[in-house]
Amino acid sequence: MRTFGKLALSLAFCCLPSLVASEKVEFFESRIRPILTQECYECHSERHKAKGGLLLDSRPGLEAGGDTGPSIVPGNAEESFLYQTIMHHVEDEDMRMPKQGAKLEDSVLADFKKWIDDGAVDPRNTAPSDEQLAADTDWGAIAARRAQHWSFLPVPSRAVAEDEIALTRQIDQLIEKQWDENAVSPSALADRWTVLRRLNFILTGLPASLVEQQQFSDLWDKEGREAAVASKVDELLASPHFGEKWAQHWLDWYRYTEGHGGQGDPKNERAHEYRDYVIRALNDNVPYDQLVKEQIAGDLLSTPRLNEDGLINESRIGVAQLRFVEHGFLPVDALDEKVKFTDNQVDVITKATMGLTVSCARCHDHKFDAVSHADYHAIFGVLASSNPSHRPLLESSQIDSQREALEAARKQLESELKSSWLNEVKAPEFRDKLQSFVDSYAPTWETLPPANDYQDHLTLGDYDALRFLRNQRESTDLPKSWAHFKKKVLSAKADNVKANEAMTKELIDFRNGLPAGWYQRDGSSRAVPAGELGMGVDDEMVAMSVLPAGLISHASTTQEDAAIFSPKFEYYDGAIGANWSGGGFSQFRYVVQNYPMVGSIYRYFPATDSGELLTSSDKFEFWKGEKGHLQFNTRRLAPAPPRGPNRPGAKPPRFHPTPRENGSWFHVSEVRLLKEEDDRLKPALFSSEILFHAEPDFTTFPEALVFYQQQLLRVLERWQTDAFSDADALFVTEFLRANILSRRIGEVSPGVEGALTKLRSVEASFADIARRTAPGVVDSEGFDQALYLRGNHKTPAEIIPRGFIDVIDDEDFQLGEESGRLQLAEKIVSAGNPLFDRVAVNRFWSHVFGEGIVSSVDNFGRTGKQPTHPELLDVLAFQFRDDGFDIKELLRSLLNTTTFQRQSTPTATAAELDPTNRLLSHARIRRLDAEGVRDHLLALGGALDLRMFGGQTPPPLAETSDKRRSLYITRMRRGRIGLMDVFDMPVPSSTRGMRDASTTPAQSISMMNSPFVKLQSERWAESHSDKAAKEAFGLLLTKAFSRPPSSSQVGRLMEFYELQGADAEALAHTAHLVTTMKEFIYLR
């Protein structure tokens, strides 16, 4: 479908001999004209604009030149202004062409030189025609040329280094080679303290303790620098804090955030599971390619990665990053919203993994790189083919292995309940209970939770069996009343059934299993006949109901979360209805364009936790023309927390799991799409129905009670057989809800309690993990995206098959129903994608050396920077893949280089010839990042709490009281903490490979006056009050600067201390003084 295939990129670009006239024209036509058209006409042609007065779309224009004079000196490229601008040999950055710093490929520049040197032959007498222009802007040719950009070319094969030591040596050699070539001499190796401080902060983000400093120094003396460093590197890589520090980088790459953004920045519940997963993965040294695959398709891997005890499916947590998108607040244009958040997914994935700004091709072909408008939509389609959801952490095989035991325990419970209830009904007291229910006017009945907080949940009300007893207990003619009741019920039923049929556009039946096209990615919902238990969800309720035939999520256990999804359909000016029920705030959602939140125009139905069977309806005509899907989910799998009620005043359901949590479940019999917006599904099943099978044999009220007792007995007996009906289930449920039949611990028989205890004990082996979910996505039915002209979702054009970027790999994904995320992940990490390997090693390099070999770490396209050491980059890339993407091994080989261990003071030659230190002849001065500054302050005060994982502290609290590492501060989009902001913690919106390291007065003000900073110095002073000041200051400097202090520095602190009065307060002032010193927050 897409217009070109993989092109043979084999034009010869070098060694161009002089040409004869016709050949010169030919040369212009094949090599120069396309470049002018594709790169220059947008700003320099009659059709568009004439920036700087220059037209480049005809020879006269070219000859006339622009405001700065002639553009070409035929025969002399070096003297030609045009050539100087494209070579970037001009002072003014704005004159470096093409605009935005996108330098042309070297081969193209060589062509221009040759063309001008050969006389700048140009056959264009006039501006081009439309046809000529179309031919010259053919995407295939443009892409083929752009695919010659260095980062797209294969990483050349080479001999791999035998081991890390060999690689380390090779890195140093490649760096040294450039010193020699540029006559720059390197700085000397740094001292042990400098190296140790660097290693500690870079690998763990924490300062070395006094003991660690001493040990390192001893080892250095004993075994020499090389061995000491190697051993320290090994030690720090094995530290659990390694994962924390590098997770921080990883979280920046995938714009980790715990807020959905938009109005109120609602919390993305349990997003922190992703942060913890990254920490674990890095500590476990999971191969980089595996981790990247997990970011895109961790839920789809055929063999997912499990944690040590096999309970947690780690891989699946990776896709949480797809949910760190910003959401609008109840957007009225739902498709626009979907396009925006899917665009953010495309943007982050392609930047983080490949350093490509694919999102720039949202509205048109990429202006600089070999990424077409169609490529963008090919990837967009892949990502848009999933639904937002939550995913359980629990590995489902853990439940599978317990399934038999669970179901046996459930059967046992059911059978105990049946016999318990049979005994209850048979007992003479049963009629007393019935009588007292009737007498009491059943206040419990009246105060059952209101069913209709949300739209039109209907209760069955007037036609319920027990209602007859209540209403007619004063009746003087019971047979007549009964006849009337029967007539009323049966006619209501007939009317309702008829009305339902008439309003039904489509009936979706769940009684025989998941309907055609529906799918389930988590859980083991299955269809069951009437008679399954609607389980209780708190610690007291055993069962809240007996269910009619339908699909249930808790066939094994209510701890197994489940979600089922309908195929996508288009909303029309009608309504939806469902007969369903649930417990533990399970939900029935009708979702519009994958918007995950609810409120106002985005509505849903929560289960009511009372055991009632719900007939829920709502109109959806507001969304006419939009695509969406239906879903039922247990509470924990709700894609985002329910945020508010549909009606003012109604309380939103809880989301947080509570200690009393016994899971959540749903049951669904049928869903109907209704024809008109005002259609409301009517109840078509009444508990009283079953009473009419028997002839009434009562004339007095006590006899009526006997009649009910007999009927219930018969129903319970029928429960043992296949003849148990939906109405039977409803009938029993009614006695449960009226508390006539027992359903609570303490009321039911000991046998029931025993069976429940047994069931809970089987569940206990996984229940703790079962409570944990992470945001995620599930594959919906895959679809190919229509290309949006000019990026406008209101102008869809041709369908683009899901796929990858054609110039890298144009193989068809061959997709069936699946989204294609797995295929996309495989393409990204495949050996055929040189960007993947290069971008990866450059990211790790950049955090070791403070700057990438390619300094634009998130952009390897033409507007990015060139590598300072291309060969080195490729050596590392090649080796990384060969080593199975072993992150720790890569870091080890970088950190053991002498390049890493040099002083930061440049030599005279370096200062003169290489002021920006591209050649790495010395180390770069680096400021600690925001987390580093805060953690270091806490560490100095001795308050740092090093517990890992889990529990989060919201920002305002964290600033003053939280002592945990800054990584664990809840990272919302809004309401962040001041200290982190002033030290450049980025706002989570897109991939951020390198943070800013600004210096501002706001930082100084914070360090001077922030109560948090002062508190840490006071803490330090308090814990050192019993020491002699001189000794204390020695310790202070050692702790703050990770090195033994000079005696003169201690002396100066003493001087300051005495100046302040040499008291306890002065001690704290001195510590505060040290925290304001640059050495405290900079690595030398």
């Binding site: 935005q100 109120g264 910003e326 009225v332 930047k351 991939t991 210096t999 100084s1004 010193m1077 030398r1084």
Partner: protein, 443 residues
């Protein structure tokens, strides 16, 4: 004295500026155009009737009938510019106002609309207009930030949060500083935690250590700057309170700005207007004012103009808060000759529907709303663009936010196409790809 915003970079101005500073009165929540600056007599004639044209979906899906304005419109000043009785004081300055009646926004909810209005993108991560101005113009203020957001009383972050004031990908030096002008500490951590002498001693010892450290690394510019910022920070501890201290203002000025007004809200907002003038006098480039919650509390503090119900009392209440102080600001600037080089902007993130929400409120209308600009070379007593006869959709000369800011930049001497920043593979600018200067707006 070095300025705070990127001292080493030259200004990006490329022509003689008409103005040097901006004061932006943010009508957070959304000002109803048909009740203030966009006169639509048809609403009275058709009061209570359904809208005779298609109405786009609204967030609360409660589209009511056409609601006339409770306020009468009158021609004002020599120009005869119509302004409603909602703003009797601002109306007296009508000849200074350049009303744009055809503003449009791409977003219809507060968070996105606010971020969009400030940055041109509906999502966070992009620089706010104030940050762009700071980046383009640098600072001319000694020891004051170049981009300031004022707060007083109970004023809160608008919906969308502080990301609407973000420096985005621009250097951190251009982020907004939030001055809570009536607090002892106008900036976080501004209050000296030590007596001045101790602070100075600390700085002097710190410098000694720092210079030693800097020498040991071969003298880094970055470390140099970090050392110097301590001096600046030290001075800011007094320069910021000084700018916020209104004691030196005359009784007349105080009364003019509403500092003696019976309403606390008016007094609090008046202080912001007066401090804004003082900051502009001191060379601050971009000052943004924040409305407070109205006395009737007919919305929330984050979006106090957001009257989905009880518009009559709610808008009247809010107008009482800002009308006198804003008029005073215009008059005072003019009197001091500062209006020529100060641009005052008055706008919400969107407008409100001409039809009712429920019986007496108005929902959000991003399709055609009114903003006004005064001073800085903008035409006075002038109106531009048209909405339809209901004031619902723009029908003539639509002004998107890109062109709006491009024109402001133009008046500040900046060529909006050249004030760019390279980030993530492309050059970004405040006017994005769509904006152009609207020369009709300026004299």
């Amino acid at each position: 004295m070095k300025d705070l915003a990127h001292a080493s970079r030259p200004l990006l101005t490329d022509h003689r500026p008409s103005a040097t500073s901006v004061i932006f009165v943010h009508i957070s929540g959304g000002l109803s155009q048909v009740d203030s600056f966009d006169y639509k007599p048809l609403l009275t004639k058709m009061a209570g009737e359904p809208m005779p044209m298609p109405v786009k979906g609204t967030m609360f899906d409660a589209v009511g009938k056409i609601m006339p304005s409770p306020w009468a419109f009158r021609p004002r000043g020599e120009s005869g510019l119509p302004v409603s009785d909602l703003f009797p004081n601002i109306a007296t300055m009508a000849d200074e106002l350049c009303v744009i009646k055809s503003m449009t926004s791409k977003a219809s909810e507060h968070a996105q609309a606010n971020i969009f209005f400030h940055s041109g993108f509906p999502f966070q991560g992009h620089p706010s207009a104030g940050a762009w101005m700071s980046y383009g113009l640098g600072s001319q203020a000694s020891n004051l930030p170049s981009y300031v957001v004022l707060r007083s009383g109970d004023a809160k972050d608008p919906i969308g949060g502080r990301s609407m004031y973000s420096n985005g990908f621009l250097p951190t030096a251009h982020q907004a500083s939030f001055l809570t002008i009536d607090q002892e500490m106008a900036l976080p951590n501004l209050k000296p935690s030590d007596p001045s002498l101790i602070q100075q001693q600390k700085i002097s010892f710190m410098k000694e250590f720092d210079q030693e450290f800097n020498a040991s690394v071969g003298t880094s510019d970055v470390v140099d700057a970090a050392i110097e910022h301590y001096e600046t920070a030290f001075k800011m501890q007094s320069s910021v309170p000084d700018a916020c201290d209104l004691k030196g203002e005359t009784e007349l000025t105080r009364r003019l700005y509403g500092l003696e007004h019976e309403s606390q809200q008016t007094r609090d907002f008046g202080k912001q207007c007066l401090v804004a003038r003082r900051l502009v006098e001191r060379g601050v480039r971009f000052v943004q004012l924040s409305c407070l919650l109205g006395e009737t509390k007919n919305a929330s503090a984050a979006n106090p103009w957001d009257q989905h119900g009880k518009l009559r009392t709610g808008h009247a209440d809010m107008a009482r808060q800002v009308d006198q102080p804003v008029a005073a600001l215009l008059r005072d600037l003019k009197g001091r000759g500062m209006l020529d080089n100060t641009i005052v902007i008055f706008s919400g993130e969107f407008g409100r529907t001409p039809f009712a929400q429920g019986s007496d409120g108005r929902d959000h209308d991003p399709f055609g709303f009114s903003a006004w600009v005064a001073g800085g070379g903008f035409k006075g007593g002038f109106s531009y663009g048209e909405t339809d006869e209901f004031g619902y959709n723009t029908i003539d000369k639509p002004v998107d936010i890109y062109s709006f800011w491009a024109t402001i930049q133009q008046q500040l001497g900046l060529n909006h196409e050249d004030v760019t920043y390279h980030f993530a593979g492309r050059d970004y600018r405040l006017s994005d790809v769509e904006g152009h200067v609207i020369y009709d707006l300026v004299a």
